[in-house]
Symmetry: C2
Subunit: 152 residues, 2 copies
Amino acid sequence: MSDSSKSFQEAVRLTMCQVRHLSMHHLWRFAKEQGFSMAQMITLRHIYHQDPAKGCSISDISGWLGVTNAAVSQSLDKLVDQGLVERQENPHDRRSKQILLTPKGEEMLKKSMQAKQTWLEDLAAHLMPEEQTQIESAFRLLTEKITDMEKS
Amino acid sequence: MSDSSKSFQEAVRLTMCQVRHLSMHHLWRFAKEQGFSMAQMITLRHIYHQDPAKGCSISDISGWLGVTNAAVSQSLDKLVDQGLVERQENPHDRRSKQILLTPKGEEMLKKSMQAKQTWLEDLAAHLMPEEQTQIESAFRLLTEKITDMEKS
DNA sequence: CTAAGTAATTAAGCAGGCTTATATAATAAG
DNA sequence: CTTATTATATAAGCCTGCTTAATTACTTAG
């Protein structure tokens, strides 16, 4: 591996480490206040990151979390009761369910991310316009590449 | 707020959203495999982000997590048993304890972050050298600014 | 058509993380 | 010095998220 690549990785790692720590804390507190378990928060986010047309199955989620289907099914019951997700029949396989976020669920997730918004505004205030532009283009590039990676 | 600042924030938000989702998942799986609770992982990271000379108190941690001191004290018992953290007397206030990571604890935390390493190498492989340089400098700047923000 | 396999659900039971209540020791305030 | 407050620890008990086991419904393979 080249030295420049090492340097790149170190820079990314450092920022990620900070962001991860703050995000983790934020999500933990949000979940606690709203009465969700960590598993439910991760589930909601996982559904959110799926193709909204297809949703995802119970097995998808249990595989992602590393728990049993039973656990996911029970956990979803509560989210359904609260109107955050819905179970739909999979037309291609009637054993399977398509789990989808309801508008209410999507709104809730957005809200959970929005608290970050204030932080982001603070950050913006600490940066000169040129600095913002520089970081912005780096992040756009990164988003694109990460998306590519997840697909492959 | 200026349009350019909005655009900046949106770019950062998008990347963070991806990173958060993947990090969350990664940490969840790691904790599960290693037999730690989410609260313990967040605790360890919190200690890690403190001044290593001072450590932090039980109250610090319970405030950070939003749980009682009793919960933290019990949770730390297990981490102490495993040799990951140690309780030291605070010389300035003998009621209080300084909670510190042991070398073993630090190593464990590093390990929990290292799995990200592979991902980072994959990412680097998807990027041209110029792209890496661009992102790298943006991240160095960002780390600096976030550190400033946390201090203030 | 039958048998085996897969997806989800339900129920019972366990374990661990959290809370409250209580106790101890040290500090701060009067 | 006495009293109140703060920091932590311990014990008992609750709650909930998870597991296993059993069931239903559907799909696939032979």
